[in-house]
Amino acid sequence: MSEFFSMGGYGGYIWASYGVTALAMIVLLIATLRGLRSSRIEREQLEAVLQSRRPRRTKKTQQAS
């Protein structure tokens, strides 16, 4: 097992490259997912407010027209 991790003495370089790649890919994915979630929540909140306001407003439009 330790032989597997040492990789013929180059373990440090090899695991560092795999590690940094995995880290970067995971961080990019998580950052995207978090941004997506927060943007979706914000959008839904705004749309909910809009929904609650919209009927009143359409009535007004009808009165106006």
Partner: protein, 262 residues
């Protein structure tokens, strides 16, 4: 109609694909990792360090692939004025920049044990470095405007200009390199690719490409959400109730069209 239809079509198409694509990404990368770390032979010249190639080369591939993708998006945005093309290009850039940076880092980690130096001004390394600069310039430009749509459009133009320039840069760097490189330094050519190495390499390239498409879909959704939020804010529905109703109505429709439902 143009603006309304396309984003919703995008969402309708990608929603069922996404879980499958994610699963495929995981499977491909897991299999790729198995074959690159355990199931492949040690190179007779480079020893175990050849294993770095299995992520270095796919990362380089992704760096170029994403830039070509951005340039194609830029061309589509120029020709058809399609908002989704801008959004795709914008969503691609961080992925491409990440992989280009990874290519440089893993190349460094490969170079140190092999040639005893972290960095050589080799033609390929230098070209990748310039590609990273192009990505950074694109991302800086796209994010420098208050109106993200304007930023995306400027970015698309830049991606096209960059794409015309990339071959020229590549040519000039090659030329510069052959002129200046002392002959003693080992060529950057990887080991001749043995069939046993092709499998992990192919798996990783496919895995990374699938990963890109997963992130692309998510980032386009994110971008669409943000546009919708911005449009809703701009519509003035939440700030001043004094705006005439018809204007509000128009703004509401504009907002609705820009974002579309998920």
């Amino acid at each position: 109609m143009h603006r309304f239809a396309k984003p919703s079509v995008f969402l309708k198409f990608t929603a069922p694909i996404l879980p499958w694509l994610s699963a495929l990404t995981v499977i491909l990368i897991a299999a790729g990792l198995y074959f690159s770390l355990i199931g492949s032979p040690v190179d007779y010249q480079q020893g175990h360090t050849v294993r770095i190639m299995y992520i270095h080369v796919p990362a380089a591939w992704m760096g170029l692939f994403c830039y070509v993708g951005m340039a194609i998006c830029g061309a589509m945005s120029l020709i058809w004025k399609h908002p989704l093309a801008d959004i795709c290009a914008r969503a691609t850039a961080p992925v491409g920049a990440t992989f280009t940076a990874l290519c440089l880092i893993t190349g460094s980690l490969w170079g140190e044990p092999m040639w005893g130096t972290w960095w050589v001004w080799d033609a390929r390394l230098t070209s990748m470095l310039i590609l990273l600069f192009l990505y950074l310039g694109y991302m800086a430009l796209v994010n420098a405007f208050d109106d993200p749509e304007r930023g995306s459009k400027a970015g698309s133009a830049l991606a096209l200009v960059g794409a015309v320039n990339v071959p020229i840069v590549k040519f000039s760097v090659d030329w510069w390199n052959t002129l200046h490189q002392p002959a003693s330094i080992v060529r950057m050519d990887g080991p001749a690719v043995d069939p046993s190495m092709q499998l992990p390499l192919a798996l990783m390239i496919l895995g990374f490409t699938c990963y890109y498409f997963v992130v692309l879909i998510l980032r386009v959704r994110l971008e669409l959400n943000e546009r919708r939020i911005r449009a809703l804010h701009l519509s003035g529905m939440f700030e001043d109730p004094e705006t005439p109703t018809s204007a509000k109505e128009q703004a509401y429709e504009a907002g609705h069209n820009a974002g579309a439902k998920q």
